[in-house]
Homo-oligomer: 234 residues x 2
């Protein structure tokens, strides 16, 4: 049964982190210009925010919620490149190349997102190199995450990779030892680069060894240091 939560007023621009940071760099005129080209949207679990292959005309600001970056190779083969939580800048640097989305971005649970028209935004960037560099650095953080992700994938065995993912989700996405994981086992497998049975088996063993406790979609890390050891050995 779906929780019929009331639709609250969307966040005001003046309370938005992105807006606050932007106002440090931009003139009042530019800020005003930006405001006129922003609109707010809500996405539900599983809804596509950006679609792989589409021509992207917007940059999205993830104000609240969690999203996955997923690459659809074909109907059978899917792949999760990254999972990130608000606040983040989506689209733009970390996503498109020549205006074609390299991958999709999909909501995991409810998401509040502000959309900015790229053409307008691009003009502002061209006029303001310092501001562009700040955003650039933000995009690079995402790049670093990808590289570390890649490294985990490239030279660890499945146990090590699963440990890495659990630590990553706990520390960087849910920011809690205990979290309600809306991803299916299949999706976790698409993130870890292994079969879904492998995720299930590994979760079982970690449960038996009291390293984690799973209860349906709820997951609690009981022994973080043991998980870190598995990551190192993997």
């Amino acid at each position: 049964m779906k929780d019929q939560s009331e639709i609250k007023d969307l966040t005001l621009c003046s309370q938005c982190l992105f807006y606050k940071q932007s106002s440090l760099f931009l003139s009042e005129k530019d800020i005003h210009h930006l405001e006129k080209n922003i609109y707010q949207l809500k996405f539900k679990h599983g809804e596509t925010i950006f679609k792989q292959g589409d021509k992207s005309r917007h940059i999205a600001l993830l104000n609240h919620g969690i999203v996955k970056f997923n690459f659809e190779e074909n109907k059978e083969r899917n792949l999760i490149l990254s999972i990130v939580s608000a606040p983040k800048i989506l689209g733009g640097a970390n996503m498109f190349y020549r205006q074609r989305n390299l991958f999709s971005i999909t909501a995991i649970g409810d998401c509040d997102i502000c959309m900015i028209d790229m053409n307008e935004f691009g003009e502002i960037l061209k006029q303001n190199g310092k501001y562009a560099l700040m955003l650039f650095e933000r995009a690079m953080e995402m790049f670093e995450t990808s590289i570390l992700n890649y490294i985990s994938l490239a030279n660890k065995n499945v146990n090590g990779r699963i440990a890495d993912i659990l630590l990553y989700l706990s520390e960087h996405v849910y920011k809690n030892q205990s979290f309600h994981l809306l991803l299916t086992r299949k999706e976790i497998a698409e993130f870890a680069g292994c079969s879904k049975e492998n995720i299930i088996h590994t979760f079982s063993h970690l449960n038996d060894d009291n390293v984690i406790r799973t209860d349906g979609k709820n997951l609690t890390i009981l022994d973080k240091s043991k998980l870190q050891m598995i990551s190192r050995l993997g």
Copy 2:
């Protein structure tokens, strides 16, 4: 015995691709400023251009040669993130984050490189958003390569990955069906994310099946379409 090749005059700035593109965006004064802060270097096979963990003060322009991006996890575990050929912008966007090199960049064969002082360069970028965006897009190309690389690694078996690497080297690095591969089998394994024996076995089989022909470090792709099929099936 090492070939004692004579040191030729380094390329003039006015003939450099980067310089030509830059001059489309920058004022004469900025170009002049840039020129004063550039110096040219030559690297030999195996020499480190940027060292992982170092504080980077320069952006490097790879004018001639091939380099690898390598991540050193520990003495035993190394990993090649990417291999690229000139002309490319190294350092900066695709490499550092908060001035710390995320990975090393090492010469594969002889390389000609121009170094630009970052502090001076950063000032120019801040003054010129349009120029910054152009470089930004260039960096994103590198990002796309990483993602495609990641996808290959994440959901293909070793045969498919090795096929991908051979196609990539042929099409994007050496730009030839036949090339003299200075990488050891161990290094290819570090790029493919598998054991060196696996590379050797797979090369043997591909040789037997007349898909490639290896002769020491020389490698020729005999049947590109078969290699593409292996990539798809992998």
